[in-house]
């Protein structure tokens, strides 16, 4: 692979795609185990209004503002869902459906009504991201990795997603036990003195941060694929929690790499000219991996 082409045009999108996939897959493992996979669906939808409102309030698209906006939107969504569920006695799926569709609709409307022409925030981008555009033009080849000047030109999204992945990894290592215990048996966990509600909220917030960091790469709808497909496939491969996490990371990376390559080079291989959506392809590949494990994974059957 020619370094002069690969490094400036493909390296950073590939890295960002990989990190985004992993950032979502990690908390996704627990969302699935808690039967809260659709909270991932909800979070991916409410990230949009969170970012849009943060942008409008601060006038910039600074990373911290976006993170803050997304986390706040996630918390508001969860609070509203809980409120509707508890006080309205509505089942959780319907409560989620009410809240996240409304918030998403609100976000889209605000986006359309406000002037965001100066910023790369438009509805299409919000839905399926723009991974291919996160390039590193300051690079000229593999040597640029050691060139401090060129490194300054790295896309800021790369730093964001790296920080978020690192943070989620650390939090996961730190709170492994409470997470595992409260996911397995919430009543017992409460009797041990574990703050089960806080743990639940913490997971949601971590997911929201992963979603917003991945947003730039793959947009909100594909984030759901990253939350669910690699961990679901991993679930069908093993009976050990640690191994499941490892498999989910492996599948996430595979989806990102294979997806990006197929999107960029696939059409060329079959005689076409232009690339297709990398985000869409990553989601598709993750789905294919899930389908394969659903047919052939060693632990795919339910025990009861």
């Amino acid at each position: 692979m020619n370094g002069a082409e690969f490094v400036p045009l493909s390296l950073t999108p590939l890295l960002i795609g990989c990190l985004a996939a992993v950032a979502c897959a990690l908390p996704g493992n627990f969302l699935i185990l808690r039967r809260q996979a659709l909270i991932g669906d909800a979070i991916s939808h409410v990230v949009l209004p969170g970012i849009v409102v943060a942008f409008l309030l601060t006038g910039t698209i600074s990373a911290t503002a976006m993170m803050f906006g997304a986390a706040t939107a996630a918390l508001i969504a969860v609070a509203m869902i809980e409120g509707i569920r508890r006080f309205g006695h509505i089942e959780p799926g319907a409560a989620m459906g009410v809240v996240f569709t409304t918030m998403f609709a609100g976000g889209v409307l605000i986006l359309e009504l406000s002037d965001t022409s100066g910023v790369h925030l438009d509805v299409e981008h919000a839905l399926y991201g723009n991974l291919e555009s996160l390039i590193w033009l300051d690079a000229i080849g593999w040597g640029s990795l050691l060139d401090a000047q060129a490194l300054k030109g790295l896309p800021p999204e790369l730093f964001r997603i790296t920080v978020v992945v690192a943070l989620i990894g650390i939090l996961l290592a730190l709170f492994w036990r409470p997470l595992a215990i409260s996911t397995f048996d919430e009543g017992f966990a409460a009797s041990l003195g574990l703050p089960v509600t806080v743990i639940s909220l913490g997971l949601v917030i971590a997911s929201a941060l992963a979603a917003v960091a991945a947003f730039d790469a793959v947009g909100s709808i594909i984030v759901i694929a990253m939350f669910i497909c690699p961990p679901a496939a991993a679930r069908l491969m093993t009976n050990r929690l640690g191994a499941q996490i490892a498999w989910s990371v492996a599948f996430a990376l595979l989806s990102a790499i294979l997806g990006y390559v197929l999107a960029g080079y696939g059409p060329l291989w079959i005689g076409g000219t232009n690339a297709v959506s990398a985000a869409g392809m990553i989601a598709t590949v993750s789905g294919v991996i899930l389908a394969i494990t659903a047919f052939a994974g060693p632990e795919r059957r339910s025990v009861n």
Binding site: F184, A190, S191, G193, L194, T238, V303
Partner: protein, 266 residues
């Protein structure tokens, strides 16, 4: 003359509470304005095994969960040795109903038992060799050492219940609260579990269990609490587990076991 809480009866009550490893006063829990548990007072005796019995929907599980603070009661106070329960949770080992757990969860038998050591290790504390030995000995007490590496979904109902009990044993608590520990288990498991509970009692610990099988109450338990949303009666089996109390609890529909206190005592 009628009085509320004068100095003397408050002191007597406080003393009474201090001697009890588990006492409930005025506990009311309601869902949607229907009471699930209403104004229950109960005082459990130390070093005894107490059964909580009542018909379906009588609020037995709710009582335990509300006492532990897992669900929020409308009113009531719960004390452990006279102190508020929230501060004494480390003295309690709670064994929830088996059905409330996802048995497909990717975890092995030994991992479940090690969860019982969480208070000791905290977030990041390493599990020492002694800890693992302790966990294995708890598994040994319930006869499940051979299953230590199995995934929990592969176990039968009785085996799962034993693992739950082993987890509780690992917590080394003064008070054991079990929710229907004998539901859906085979006869061998039932014998194993009751043997463990009796050994706990021999060690001076207190055992309280929601129990569904009236015919075994006199054999297994010292005291009984009859509950149907409100407390009907509590006390030693000989005096509290009577036909009259049972029909008051179950509404006269109890056509099965006729408990003859004389036969029980004799």
């Amino acid at each position: 003359m009628l009085q509320i809480a004068n100095a003397e009866n408050v002191r007597a009550e406080a003393q009474f509470l201090r001697e009890s490893p588990f006492a409930i006063r005025g506990l009311t829990v309601s869902y949607d304005q229907k009471p699930a548990v209403f104004s229950v007072d109960a005082t459990f005796q130390p070093g005894k095994m107490t059964a909580i019995v009542g018909p379906n929907g009588a609020g037995k599980s709710t009582l335990i969960k509300a006492a532990l603070g897992i669900i929020k009661p409308l009113s009531g106070q719960v004390t452990i040795m006279g102190r508020p329960v929230a501060a004494e949770m480390h003295r309690i080992a709670y064994v929830p109903q088996r059905a409330s757990v996802d048995w497909d969860f990717p975890v092995r038998v030994i991992d479940v038992v090690l969860m019982g050591l969480f208070r000791k290790t905290g977030l990041l504390g390493r599990l020492s060799g002694a800890d693992r030995k302790h966990a294995m000995s708890c598994l040994n007490r319930v006869g499940m050492t051979d299953f230590a590496s199995r995934q929990i979904g592969q176990l039968s109902g009785g085996q799962q219940q034993r693992v739950f009990l082993a987890r509780a044993l690992a917590q080394d608590a003064d008070l054991y609260l079990l929710d229907e520990p004998f539901a859906g288990v085979d006869a061998a498991t039932e014998k194993a579990i009751i043997a463990v509970l009796k050994s706990l009692r021999a060690e001076g610990r207190t055992v309280v269990a929601v129990h569904h099988d009236l015919s075994t109450v006199p054999d297994y338990f010292d005291n009984v609490l009859l509950l149907n949303v409100r407390k009907i009666a509590e006390g030693p089996v000989e005096t509290a587990f009577t036909d009259a109390n049972l029909s008051a609890t179950y509404g006269g529909r109890l056509a099965t076991a006729r408990i003859d206190p004389a036969a029980v005592a004799g």
